[in-house]
Amino acid sequence: MLEIGRLRVFHGVIEAVHGIDLCVREGECVALLGPNGAGKTSTLSAITGAARATGTIRLAGRDLSGLAIEDRCRLGIAIAPEGRRVFANLTVRENLVMGGAIRRDRRALAAEIDSWFQRFPVLGERRDQPAGTLSGGEQQMLAIARALLARPRILLLDEPSLGLAPQIVGRIFRIIEELKAQGTTILLVEQNAAAAIAVSDSVHVLSNGVVTRQGPAAAFGDGSGLMDELTGVHG
């Protein structure tokens, strides 16, 4: 579904990612793990088109290079970004409408928004409140629902557990598991290695802009060895 080859990502003149390869097959969940500043978010930005990059990015066989952010979204890339970035001044419902703004089937979209309200009743109860009044976990659910309403081919999740209380983190990962069970293709960026490995099929570890380890999720066990590597504690 998503194939990335020799990807280099730049912020201004600084190269943040030094030529990585990555592949996400249809229906698969791939975890991209790594410490702060390893280049995980930069990789996602290169896929969405928000950051300047060289190398190849192909979605369902189609080369994305040179396409604008909005065109990549229309081809099927949606993101629940780092920091959630919900539209705080719009209501919860309006945020979801924005998520499905590229769709023409208005009636199906409205029905789908209602089904998200049933799935996340907290969002349903607050549908007419500004999204800025939601808690961090609720904003994360909103960001995920907003991304999925575009009916993407692949969902990019950037640190969905960041800054959330442990029970809420568990809730978010259950949602990711459910999405995967429904067949959603997911590229998951995380620092919470154990939880990410548990929901993923394969894992890539990124450090200082290069992939240092990769393999099926089973090969990483419960991720406890990895945790030290990611936090920089070497025992």
Partner: protein, 298 residues
């Protein structure tokens, strides 16, 4: 009593005109961070288009009003395409200088192709009549101006709440990149903002032409300068702030004219700007400065 009513109406109509123009500046600034000083030339373009279509096409004022509004919308969108798109995302200063450049070029084009002297276009003068309501004599233009401004604000509010483009404009004021990540075309959102600012400039142009009866190269510059001050008072980039600032400025100008003795009339502007300075000491970002944070950003 009737004096009070007349002066309140004065203040309201002044304020309404500033609010219309300030809203046009604010909606562009809120998503582009561009202070569009060429907004006044959009208004002037509307004035000249009235002079041209009024002599060539038709004398029907209602059709001409639609022409003026459409001309202002079109020129605003064209200016974005040829001038402002190239500096999109650039520094605030770059945008400001570009806007000044566009403004100067257009003023000189009006001078070269039109005339340095006022070009008569009196088709809208009929809007300005003296109405006698009991003991009070008021200008019909002032009533129209206030009513149309209120209607335009309500329409804009509905547009921003009910339509996808409207929501996108509100969202883009907070986080433009996220709007693009939702698949909305940046060029369309920006063009939408300029079209709305052009629409509001067109309405303002109709009332300015009704009062002046002629078009002149710099006819839009002074009102835009006042509207800029209104935006600063209200909080730059905030749409409610632009409306509030516009009406406050209108009230302040009329109040100063009434309260100052006739001999000190020349000081009116100085007093108004001193009041503005005081407001900015109290609230440096303006009264209703927009929120800066982007949701739950960690």
């Amino acid at each position: 009593m009737d004096y009070l009513i007349q002066q309140s109406l004065n203040a309201l109509s002044f304020g309404a005109e500033y609010a219309l123009i300030a809203l046009g500046l604010a909606i562009v600034f809120s998503i582009m961070r561009l202070v569009n000083f060429a907004h006044g030339e959009v208004i002037a373009f509307g004035g000249y288009s009235l002079a041209v279509t009024g002599t060539l096409l038709t004398g029907n004022p209602w059709i001409l009003m639609a022409c003026v509004v459409l001309a202002c919308m079109a020129v605003a969108v064209v200016l974005e395409r040829v001038a402002f798109r190239t500096v999109r995302g650039a520094d605030l200063t770059t945008g400001l200088l570009t806007a000044f450049g566009v403004s100067i070029i257009l003023q000189n084009l009006f001078l070269l192709l039109g005339s340095p002297r006022p070009v008569a276009a009196t088709q809208f003068i009929f809007l300005d009549r003296t109405l006698t309501l009991g003991p009070v004599r008021v200008s019909s233009l002032q009533i129209y101006e206030t009513a149309v401004t209120v209607a335009a604000i309500v329409a804009l509010l509905l547009f921003l709440r009910r339509t996808t483009l409207g929501m996108a404009l509100r969202a883009a004021a907070l986080d433009f990149e996220m709007v693009r990540l939702c698949g909305l075309r940046a060029n369309r959102v920006v063009a939408g903002a300029f079209a709305i600012s052009g629409f509001l400039a067109g309405l303002a142009c109709i009332f300015i032409m009704a009062r002046r009866g002629s078009a002149q190269p710099h006819m839009g510059f002074d009102p835009v300068l006042s509207a800029f001050v209104a935006c600063v008072i209200g909080g730059f980039g905030s749409l409610p702030g632009a409306v509030l600032g516009g009406f406050l400025l209108g009230i302040a100008e009329v109040a100063v004219l009434i309260l100052l003795p006739q001999s000190a009339g020349g000081l009116a502007h100085a007093v108004v700007f001193a009041l503005v300075a005081l407001i900015l000491v109290w609230r440096p970002d303006g009264i209703l400065s927009p929120a800066r944070e982007k949701g739950d950003k960690l």
